[in-house]
């Protein structure tokens, strides 16, 4: 029974994947929405039964579910279920989509349930690689470019992560997440490990500077996939931080400062870059970057003082829940609008956008108001006397303006009559909108007694002014726009990527100009890897010639002797 409870969330998506591969089509595609249901059940019941031990599987996987894990598992399952309803159409139209979808889902749930680093890392990697299939699904040139950037950053993140895990595991007493967190705290290489983990997970969480893949990849995917990428999968970085950083073990003021600063910078710059965008999905992706900044900030707060850590962790989980649902609503709405372009359906969708947008901005009594109130509670507890709360409120002003811009962009969009109608109605969407309103205020306090019930002051008064100010600014901007032509500088989606790409292809072109023209063309070079490979390819002929010469008769024997001599010398020199 406990096997069923614990393993069904991981195995059911895999089984569904097998079914959909063998028998694709309308009759089975509803399974896409059913696959995360066991995970939702586990999140709702909680760990009522002990986790099974599986000693013979991959280096002894351990499963566990703590309170933040329950919140995130519930969020993940909910978002994947609702998005699955709308992902059906995509899955029916082109093979492969369902496979990548379900594999990503398996990874996403697996990383939430795992309690040892190897299982966690496995799930993390499976999710990252499988989601590549979702990003490039449309097969357009844009999607492929997004996919390439996604993959390069993904592999980089996983490599940094593995280095951090290995360094920590070498000194740890066991491979459980808690053992590693303690080992990180005590390791002589603590700062190196911290840097590796912060950067490795930071890539997934979209920390500024490492966020560059996100505004490309999230919008490139079909909208249902964008919803799970931005609503659920983006939280994987948070999970990693929560479990593996020595939160609640030691106070690391230096790292706390780093993460708080990074978090604030991400929150502010995410909004600023998002405001320059015209495509609604890109605006949303930048908003995700910005919102993850608040969560990064909370991780920094949690590292400031072990006693305040439980509150900060609870606040981070609550914030993740709030943001995940709201962001999924927004991505689904953006994707569904062209399909339901008229009448009450359009109104429903726009109402959903307004509700979720206001929630993200932290409007009074919304889930965002609760989440931000708890964030302030954590900040006041861990870092009293700082002006962090004010800065966070200012960032909320930005979010309001960003959401206003999104609404204007969406309203200006005409219904696309050619869009394929989805088989599903708007009921699942409406359910998610309802969840935006109630889930965070109800679930978080029930699971985290540490969170104080926010008073009217923090829920209404303090929540009102950033939103009001934001709306005022947005209105002013609109009015101003009517009078004078306001020039917003356009930033390419993926900002830094574009700069990097240009630098790399410039360098590659320089290389090509310097070297005599050879067989390969450089026109398609756009990633650093390709450029490096091609540069090497040119030298390759030289190396081939060298190796050819080495294979000749006379050199063969002489060389073995030479190598023997060289190694001997190397061996003898340091000898006593």
């Amino acid at each position: 029974m406990n096997l069923l409870l614990w393993l069904a969330p991981i195995l059911v998506p895999l089984a569904v994947g097998a079914v959909l591969t063998l028998r694709p089509g309308r009759g089975t595609s509803w399974l896409l929405a059913a696959a995360p249901v066991p995970a939702l059940l586990l999140a709702v019941t909680g760990p009522v039964l002990p986790a099974p031990e599986l000693p013979w599987l991959l280096l002894e996987p351990r499963l566990a579910l703590d309170e933040p894990g329950r919140v995130l598992l519930g969020l993940t399952a909910l978002v994947w279920i609702i998005a699955g309803v709308y992902g059906r159409t995509e899955a029916e139209q082109r093979g492969g989509f369902a496979d990548w979808w379900l594999l990503s889902l398996t990874g996403n749930i697996g990383l939430l349930l795992s309690d040892d680093i190897l299982t966690f890392y496995t799930a993390f990697v499976v999710m990252t690689l499988a989601a590549y299939g979702l990003v490039v699904h449309s097969r357009t040139a844009e999607a492929r470019r997004a996919g390439r950037v996604y993959l390069v950053l993904g592999v980089a993140g996983e490599t940094l992560l593995l280095a951090g895990l290995l360094l920590a595991a070498a000194d740890a007493t066991g491979l459980r997440m808690a053992d590693i967190a303690i080992a990180v705290a005590q390791s002589p290489d603590r700062d190196l490990i911290m840097a590796l983990l912060v950067a490795g997970f930071g890539i997934k969480a979209g920390v500024i500077g490492l966020h560059i893949w996100l505004p490309l990849a999230h919008p490139a995917a079909p909208f249902a996939a964008s919803a799970v990428l931005s609503g659920a999968m983006i939280k994987a970085g948070l999970v990693g931080w929560l479990r593996l950083l020595p939160i609640g073990v030691v106070a690391l003021p230096g790292w706390s400062e780093v993460l708080v600063t990074l978090g604030l910078a991400t929150a502010v710059l995410g909004v600023a870059l998002g405001l320059t965008q015209r495509a609604p999905k890109v605006v949303l992706a930048y908003s995700s970057v910005s919102q993850m900044g608040f969560i990064t900030l909370l991780i920094g707060v949690a590292l400031a003082s072990p006693s305040a850590a439980p509150v900060a962790v609870a606040a981070a989980a609550a914030y993740a829940l709030h943001h995940g649902i709201a962001k999924a609503v927004l991505f689904l709405a953006v994707g569904l609008l062209p399909q339901f372009g008229t009448g009450w359906r359009r109104t429903t969708l726009l109402v959903g956008v307004v509700v979720a947008g206001l929630a993200l901005a932290g409007a009074p009594l919304s889930s965002g108001a609760f989440a931000k109130a708890w964030m302030k509670q954590a900040i006041d507890l861990a870092l009293p006397g700082t002006n962090l709360t004010t800065l966070a409120s200012l960032a909320a002003v930005g979010t309001t303006v960003l959401m206003a811009r999104l609404l204007l962009l969406l309203r200006a969009r005409l219904p696309d009559t050619a869009a394929v109608g989805s088989a599903a109605g708007l009921e699942p969407f409406s359910t998610l909108v309802a969840a935006t309103l109630v889930a965070t205020p109800l679930v978080a306090p029930a699971l985290f007694p540490a969170l104080a019930t926010p008073g009217a002051r923090s829920l209404v008064t303090e929540a009102l002014w950033p939103v009001a100010l934001g709306l005022l600014l947005a209105t002013a901007a609109v009015l101003l726009r009517r009078r004078v032509s306001l020039h917003i500088p356009e930033v390419w989606p993926g900002d830094l990527v574009v700069i990097t790409e240009r630098a790399v292809s410039g360098a590659a072109r320089g290389l090509a100009a310097a070297a005599p023209p050879v067989t390969t063309t450089l026109s398609r070079t756009s990633s650093a890897v390709q450029a490096a490979a091609l540069a090497l390819g040119r030298r390759d002929e030289g190396l081939d010639r060298l190796e050819d010469r080495l294979t000749r008769w006379r050199t063969g024997g002489a060389m073995v002797a030479l190598v023997a001599l060289a190694v001997t010398a190397a061996l003898l020199l340091p000898a006593r």
Binding site: W56, L58, G95, A156, V567
Partner: protein, 502 residues
Amino acid sequence: MAELDLNAALPVLLLLTSLVPAGIIFLLAEEQERTRRVVNMAGALAKVVLTGVLIAGVLGGAEYEWRRALLPGIDLVLRVDPIPLLFVTLSSILWLTTTVYAIGYLEKGQRRSRFFGFFSLCVTATIGIALAGNLVTFLLFYELLTIATYPLVVHQGDRKALIGGRAYLLYSVTGGAVLLVAIAWLHALAGPVEFLDYTPLAGLVDDNATSLTLIFVLLIAGLGVKTALVPLHGWLPKAMVAPAPVSSLLHAVAVVKAGAYGIVRVVYDLYGLALAQELRLLTPLLVLAAVTIVYGSLRALAQDDLKRRLAYSTVSQLSYIVLGVGIASLAGVTGGLVHLIHQGIQKVTLFYCAGNLAKQLGVTRISQMRGVGRRMPLTMGAFTVAALGMIGIPPTAGFVTKWHLGLGGLQAGQGVVIWILLLSSVLNAAYFLPIIARIWFLRPEGEEAGAPVMERDLERDPWLVLPAVVTGLSVLVVGLLAGAPLSPLNWAASIAAEVVGS
């Protein structure tokens, strides 16, 4: 008495299961396809069964040794020790799958009689190398391997094949000669030395440390040729002109693996870890392995020819084993030993798949691999899993290796190992992930959107598809079930405990 005889006979029987088929096949006429198949399969199956018997016996505490005097004072010894058993198991299983594959791969008129004869001989030599109880026996079979493999490398008979074959022969013969010198020197110094008997060498440390070091260098240089350690690797990318079944066996079990296995035995079973450490032999080995790993990966990155890229990947991956040998800690030794198995099943799968691509679609270059995933889903699925294993993506076998090597490096105080491993992983990702993306996410050339080509015929031949799928699955299973009692990992770990403890 009868019991004793059987125990002595088993190692020889193991050799005969491929030697006898070799003899029969040479006598068969080219057209006797059916008989040849039966003989081949019977031999391969018998070897797997016998290996099973050996494993069961060893688990039960039995000892298997066969010994005959060769020269005065020098015995020919075949003995089943822990590390040999690991290698024998790998060889028997992959010989079976490769035999199946070769039967499917070679067509009429391709001199199948000669091919399968030498093929069986090649495996005989490998088993001999595996079971060799002393260096002389080892050398004997090592040279037999060189000779038996040459006709397989030049099987196509064209200019390219002959050039590749010549390179192979030159390197191997020279390497063998160096090995011979080393062994002769060792015998002059210490008398007959057997594996796992450390006393003769340990007694020489005080007076003859320099000689022991020099002998070690010569041994590694001789074995390093087959192991394709840089700069002795030049023959390997040339020898990949051999037909796919040969490449598979050559890269996974027989030739290159025999070299790596030799290094493993020299360090663990001849010198012993303690002596090797005392003589400070491990660090230079580690450096050599690290250079080879990185160089091989960099060269692989630049190849467009699929088999050439795989060949350079072998250069790199094989040195993971040598890297493990260079790390004197429990996890490090485990990682190196288990990679004997893991590299084998991964690389064999990749070569099967490359062969299937070339045979069914005429695709030999990576740039031609657009969208082949949908045309040959099973083959390319296996390819994908094996390639992910090469990168070391969990939950494949390759990750298990990488994790243990990295952990071992840190335990031994050689933290630099993890950076080499991670650099290699990134390079592996850089040359395998684009292939995987090309296979699955690009449209086949000439195909319009929404009109998928479904050619079920491409994967109809079970002789070709089954081996790839089975070994590909095993890459996943070995990784997923790494904690299971008889998994390669646990096996390697128990051997490592003995090696480190001794």
